[in-house]
């Protein structure tokens, strides 16, 4: 079973408000990913880190989204100004180093933007 911890499990925000969620990856996993799963169950990759450094991020993340993975602290994903279209399940996953290793997912933070 995955040991990725995500908080909070549920988050409700008004449009324009900040929304922040956190993730503690599995111990020993230096690679962390954030995905957005929409109401149609489609996955969208947002950003990934290796040892606190950003590896890749999509354009959406570069604009209203910010994320970090500081050493000795939980990783976080923050939406600066929430929009209705941001309502989704935000999944954090961690992976041991190496190309072929699987990703282990946390339970997600379900964000609802009213």
């Amino acid at each position: 079973n995955s040991k990725v911890i995500q908080t909070p499990r549920y988050l409700v925000k008004g449009q324009g408000q900040k929304a922040k969620m956190r993730c503690i990856p599995e111990k020993g996993h230096p690679v962390v990913f954030w995905y957005q799963q929409n109401k149609n169950n489609e996955f969208k990759f947002l950003i990934n880190f290796q040892n606190q450094e950003v590896l890749q991020q999509i354009d959406m993340t570069e604009k209203r989204f910010s994320a970090e993975c500081p050493s000795n602290s939980p990783c976080s994903l923050e939406i600066q100004s929430s929009e209705a279209g941001d309502s989704a399940l935000y999944l954090c996953a961690s992976s041991p180093p190496g190309l072929g290793n699987e990703q282990y997912f946390g339970p997600g933070t379900r964000l609802t933007v009213l």
Partner: protein, 112 residues
Amino acid sequence: GDSVTQTEGLVTLTKGLPVMLNCTYQTTYSPFLFWYVQHLNEAPKLLLKSSTDNKRTEHQGFYATLHKSSSSFHLQKSSVQLSDSALYFCALRSSALGRLHFGAGTQLIVIP
């Protein structure tokens, strides 16, 4: 670019029957393929993985074989159970950056 195609959006089966969920992929790199299962309000959990051509991999009664010649990694089970009702995602990881490319998912519903 990399992509994964799952052709069935919904599969409804009677308990005890066999199932095959289709997955094909596109990549120019050496592929790693995964099947994840997601039950309602739960995290996706790894079901199977493979990077070896023509080798069958099995877990919890499910099995799949990666066929690089046809770019396929179909998920099969010989006898589905009620507890198998869930969303099933095929995913591809092909770059050193490691992000997963997911298919659209297949909802499996098993009825008594």
